[in-house]
Symmetry: C2
Subunit: 146 residues, 2 copies
């Protein structure tokens, strides 16, 4: 599996480095991670313990992975950028206003842009991004209790 992560990188024309494998592996375990989540977890590499990675290196890697279509970024209002591995399926997101929990939701249509605006205003549209805002189950309970 560690091997396949390396192959995945190479198949996209990227060199297989310890840092990139570590970040991909970390994202496999934690979808919707922020850059600082990854730093806090110290990006463990398989059995071999924690690996440090510079802040700049982290942003470089994430940018490279995003350019190679291996990760996708989302930026819900009020949250730092989140990185996730699911790409190419044009899915959308549920975001909790209180705790920030993010859940994936499949797109009913499947291909971007899955939704047409009422007016196009001359734009060439390539994607419809949808975020549903609300309260997650746990935060609803917390509100009900108070």
């Amino acid at each position: 599996m560690e091997q396949s992560v390396g192959d995945l990188l190479k198949s996209r024309g990227l060199r297989s480095t310890a840092q990139r494998r570590a970040i991909l592996t970390a994202l496999l375990g934690h979808p919707h991670s922020t850059a600082s989540d990854l730093v806090k977890r110290r990006i463990g590499v398989g059995e071999s313990g924690p690996l440090g990675l510079s802040k700049q290196g982290l942003y470089n890697v994430l940018e490279d992975l995003a350019n190679a279509q291996l990760v996708r970024c989302i930026e819900p209002a009020g949250s730092p950028t989140l990185y996730e591995l699911r790409v190419g399926d044009n899915h959308h997101h549920l975001v909790c206003r209180k705790c920030g929990l993010v859940e994936d939701v499949d797109c009913a249509v499947g291909v971007a842009p899955c939704l047409d605006p009422v007016e196009r205003k001359g734009f060439a549209i390539d994607e419809a991004e949808i975020i549903w805002w609300g309260l997650c189950a746990q935060c609803q309970e917390a509100v009900a209790d108070s």
Copy 2:
């Protein structure tokens, strides 16, 4: 009109101050302004010339106006927070990937949440936020010319 801006504030239980009137007036003229757009324009007040306003004051005013439902914030990925006056009509946005231009689009349904997700995952959803990404007419031309 300056008067009506003051009345609008009072009707929401906010004091009518020069700073708040100035910001509301500035937003009337420039929808989709960032905080720094407002600072750069120095927030002219009617005939009476430019008025300075501290950075903190600006954020306080914008927060107060947002709490009073007089302005709405949007945060497209890669852009600082934008403030706009249209509220309560649940409209959506077109955003240009290249120049950042933002256009309003009416919502076909009209009331939030205007769209249901395929799966709800236990969330109590109160709003569906939609951003259509693409290139505005002008940036399409620029690309075609190159």
